[in-house]
């Protein structure tokens, strides 16, 4: 037996819809009456994530009717988007004083990530019309959830992951990494933060008596004055060009502090020999070939 894939639809309204209005919606939007769920917004909003048990991407079509302008907030639309399949269709209907402009609803649809917003026929019917009042007209806009679903075309070999049995079944079923599946909807990481988190950090306080920037320690046999705290900040800066040695420095290297010849590990920040291999005092420094190449 072949089971035909049903196109599930959701019809949400701010107050209970009359049978006439439902019939009108089903007809206008070509919904499958057998698989259309009708809900009031209050019922739906009372259970934002919880017992409204349809999973994400459950519906092919979502129609939402609200008898006031601007009633579909960005949050509302994002929530509805979650319920829609990729490529699914959303129709929002609002009452409006301006029958021509659909700019408001269209913009929010755009911001909620829908594409191709355009106006479409609206649901009509008895009680519904009374709600909006006579001075207003209905406006309906339809848009699509983009078919951006991502996934591998060539599935890699699946690895069998060990699943622990001792965790609560409900958590275990959700805490699953399935490499060939989409992550589903993600929360916006910036909404995790409040203003205090984003406030500019206070500058770190440095003690007055710091010897130099970065709290460098003076060498045991200090000759530069750092040990006495007399080291000016500027002298610590390394001018990289200093590492080019004069012939005298190369052929007959000397060291005031006695550490220069031991290698970079022992050299002071301003040492002209930084970058050079270890050497013996008074003996010519043998340079690797690459070190004598001109700077590019």
């Amino acid at each position: 037996m072949v089971i035909k894939e049903v196109e599930r639809s959701l019809l949400v309204s701010s107050s209970k819809l009359s049978a006439q209005a439902i019939a009108s919606a089903v007809q206008i939007y070509n919904l499958d009456v057998e698989s259309t769920t009708v809900l009031t917004k209050a019922k739906y909003a009372a259970a934002p994530n919880g017992d409204f048990d349809e999973a994400d991407g459950y519906y092919r079509n979502v129609v939402s009717v609200a008898p006031a302008a601007g009633e579909h907030s960005l949050e509302d639309l994002q929530q509805l988007s979650r319920l829609l399949q990729s490529g699914g269709k959303i129709i929002i209907q609002e009452a409006s004083a301006d029958s021509k402009s659909t700019a408001g609803p269209s913009k929010n649809l755009l911001l909620a990530g829908f594409t191709g917003a355009s106006s479409c026929p609206s649901v009509q019917g008895g009680a519904l019309d009374m709600l909006k009042g006579n001075s207003l007209t209905w406006q309906a806009v339809s848009a699509q959830k983009p078919d951006y679903a991502v996934g591998a075309k060539f599935a890699l070999r699946k690895k069998n992951k060990t699943v622990h049995n001792d965790r609560p079944a409900q958590v275990a079923s959700v805490w699953r990494v399935e490499t060939d599946k989409d992550d589903g909807d993600l929360i916006n990481e910036d909404e995790l933060l409040d203003e205090a988190d984003l406030a500019a950090p206070a500058p770190a306080a440095n003690d007055d008596c710091d010897v130099g920037k970065g709290g460098r320690k003076a060498c045991k046999n200090c000759t530069c004055g750092r040990a006495e705290g007399a080291m000016p900040d500027t002298a610590v800066k390394v001018d990289v060009n200093n590492t080019y040695l004069t012939d005298e420095q190369r052929n007959n290297p000397q060291s005031a502090c006695g550490s220069c010849g031991l290698g970079d590990a022992y050299r002071c920040a301003g040492c002209p020999y930084l970058g050079m291999p270890a050497f013996k005092l008074g003996e010519k420094i043998e340079l690797a070939e690459s070190m004598m190449e001109a700077d590019i």
Binding site: L110, G113, L156, V174, V177, D185
Partner: protein
């Protein structure tokens, strides 16, 4: 009669590290926890199975934030998972946790990754052991300025949950660590006899090295056993030969970018556009021998490594362990390396320096000497000639040899038995004017397919960029330099679809480089697809050559110029992909798209930002960068 022994309480330390600082902190927390009688595991977030997080009882997180507010690469997948809306709000009700962040208060998004993580853990039902600790690079003592008091509080807080067993006492927080804790690896020397053999008969050096690396992971408890699995991966690489190695950039151009074709033969390895090829670099045999000689180690000696779970591994030669397991020739070691070295020197001058480098006080100097200079273990040992490091400590403190990941630049549909790699040969000068080259890329560049019998140890790793399933979805690709590599795979994939007459959505490729004549990678191929194929019609090739005219032109200029076209595609559901080196490029490109949306959709700039933000959470705007 014996008293019932309560098992030591377990702690997991999870870190997300970019430069290695977070790993350093995590490992030192691990050692401190051990001294306090906890059973501790220290794990990077990219090698931890996030499915197990609801089962953990005590986790300490250490995570860094890069300058632009980005999470470390190794943290991204873990974090993406935690952001899933479908995770129940009580998922982590078993979990007690503490978060320490590493950041720099000189940037606006100071420690933002750690702040978000702490908030998300609360919303998943976790219980905070102590409030978020924020390490600050701007602090005069670096992140350690806040880390030390934070860890003191942490140990105190944990004691309330896990009282000390009678008869034991905790070490003093302030006392310096004078004793070395046990090395991570323990070595059993196997007596040599004439008949001793190890490994498989006739195994190549590459195979021996890969096997030794796997044994190291068995001993470290990362891997259960070395028995063969049916899929290729870090512990079971495929040994592939190189079929092509050509230079893509002009000979006169300063940068050398290579096009390599790797033979996947009958391996059955397949890949999707966006996937990466992992390559385990190989250190030249001569260098391995030089290193062994310096350490006074016999490369042919046989050892077994003790396992955590008891027993020991198979026999392996020291030479193979060093060659397949350790990166002693390019990666700078962590600070702990110096602390350990100080115990194995006979010179007072050397010991003094090593102790200083290993201490909190020497942090800045060791950073300048070691990290910024990218000084390898081998080079450091030159400055400390009296150090004799025993093998178990060498294995413990030398950085592990890591695979390098290259975005595959071919489509599997077009090249069923090959994977193409587009690699820039890394070559630079340190602040002290020392010439450095990348371990892996220098080796790759040297391979000559016509003579070399060398095999690359490779496997396929899933990338983060994914083509839309629906081929009609328009795609906008921004890939300056070698960032274009995954997009060549995307475009070839769509070209194959074009060829069989399938409807294919427009593709816009934004490429940037210095000179048209110098480093315009795959120029001829793109031009072919502009005439006929995926870059035709609504799509196109938009290249920016920064040095071909007096004023600099970058991909962001081209994006703004093509605003009208781009908005038309975006409003019909196009996906945007950005790939390339991290730094300013990704932020600049995002700003350019914000301008495009703002200008052509008529949205306020704030709304345009929201629009792109929504695209990102929906994965319609994907970014992959490397440093």
């Amino acid at each position: 009669m014996t008293a019932a022994v309560t098992p030591a309480p377990q702690i997991l330390v999870l870190y997300g590290s970019e430069t290695g600082n977070a790993q350093d902190v995590a490992e030192s927390l691990g050692r401190a926890a051990q001294r306090r009688y906890y059973q501790v595991r220290v794990c990077s977030t990219d090698s931890y199975n996030v499915e197990n997080l609801p089962l953990e009882s005590t986790v300490i997180f250490v995570v860094s934030t890069t300058g632009q507010g980005d999470p470390p690469e190794s943290f991204k997948n873990f974090w993406r998972f935690l952001l899933r809306k479908s995770l129940p709000a009580d998922s982590l009700s078993n979990l007690r946790y503490a978060v320490f962040g590493l950041g720099d208060s000189g940037y606006v998004k100071y420690n933002i990754v750690a702040k978000r993580l702490a908030k998300r853990l609360i919303s998943l039902g976790g219980a905070e052991l102590l409030s978020l600790g924020l390490g600050d690079d701007q602090h005069k003592s670096g992140f350690e300025g806040t880390l030390d008091p934070w860890t003191a509080k942490l140990w105190k807080g944990l004691r309330q949950h896990f009282p000390l067993p009678t008869g034991l006492s905790d070490p003093d927080d302030d006392a310096p660590v004078t004793e070395l804790s046990a090395p991570k690896y323990k070595v059993e020397w196997v007596p040599m006899t004439n008949s001793t053999s190890s490994g498989q008969v006739g195994a190549t050096p590459e195979e021996e090295a890969a096997r030794a690396g796997a044994l190291l992971d068995v001993a470290g408890g990362v891997l259960a056993s070395t028995s063969a699995t049916d899929s290729y991966g870090p512990h079971n690489p495929y040994f592939a030969s190189v079929l092509t190695n050509t230079r893509l950039t002009d000979e006169g151009h300063t940068q050398d970018v290579r096009h390599l074709e790797v033979d996947l033969g009958e391996s059955g390895l397949s890949y999707a556009p966006g996937d990466s090829l992992a390559i385990l670099p190989q250190i030249p045999e001569a260098l391995v021998q030089q290193f062994l000689t310096r350490l006074g180690l016999d490369g042919d000696a046989l050892v077994r490594l003790a396992k955590d779970t008891g027993g020991s591994t198979e026999e392996v030669r020291v030479r193979h362990l060093v060659r397949g397991g350790l990166d002693f020739a390019s990666a700078p070691p962590r600070r702990y390396f110096f602390e350990v070295l100080s115990h194995f020197t006979t010179s007072e001058v050397e010991q003094d320096r090593l102790q200083y480098f290993g201490s909190a006080e020497g942090r800045d100097d060791v950073y300048r000497y070691c990290n910024r200079e990218r000084r390898s273990v081998m080079e450091i040992l030159e400055d400390f000639p009296s150090v004799r490091l025993p093998l178990e400590w060498l294995l413990t403190v030398t950085p592990r040899l890591r695979p390098r990941y290259f975005s595959i630049s071919s489509s599997h549909a077009m090249h069923p038995k090959r994977a193409h790699v587009t690699a820039a040969i890394v070559d630079w000068q340190t602040p002290y004017k020392r010439r450095r080259s990348g371990l892996c890329t220098a080796w790759l560049a040297s391979l000559d397919p016509s003579v070399s019998k060398a095999r690359l140890a490779v496997w396929v790793a899933r990338g983060s960029l994914r083509l839309p399933v629906e081929p009609r979805t328009p795609i906008i690709l921004v890939g300056p330099g070698t960032g274009v590599a995954p997009f060549r795979s995307f475009i070839q994939e769509r070209a194959m679809l074009c060829e069989i007459g399938a409807p294919v959505g427009p593709v816009c490729l934004f490429f940037g480089c210095r000179k048209r004549s110098g480093d315009f990678l795959y120029a001829a191929e793109w031009e072919k697809y502009v005439l006929k194929g995926p870059l035709h019609q609504e799509g196109g090739l938009f290249a920016a050559f920064s040095q071909d005219q007096p004023e600099k032109v970058y991909v962001t200029h081209r994006i703004r110029q093509e605003g009208e076209r781009l908005w038309r595609l975006l409003s019909t559901g196009a996906c945007v992909y950005v790939s390339g080196s991290s730094g300013k490029m990704p932020t600049d490109v995002l700003a350019a798209f914000e301008d495009v949306v703002s200008q052509h959709a008529g949205l306020a700039h704030e709304d345009a930002k929201h629009y792109l933000q929504a695209m990102m959470t929906q994965r319609r705007y994907q970014v992959e960068t490397w440093s």
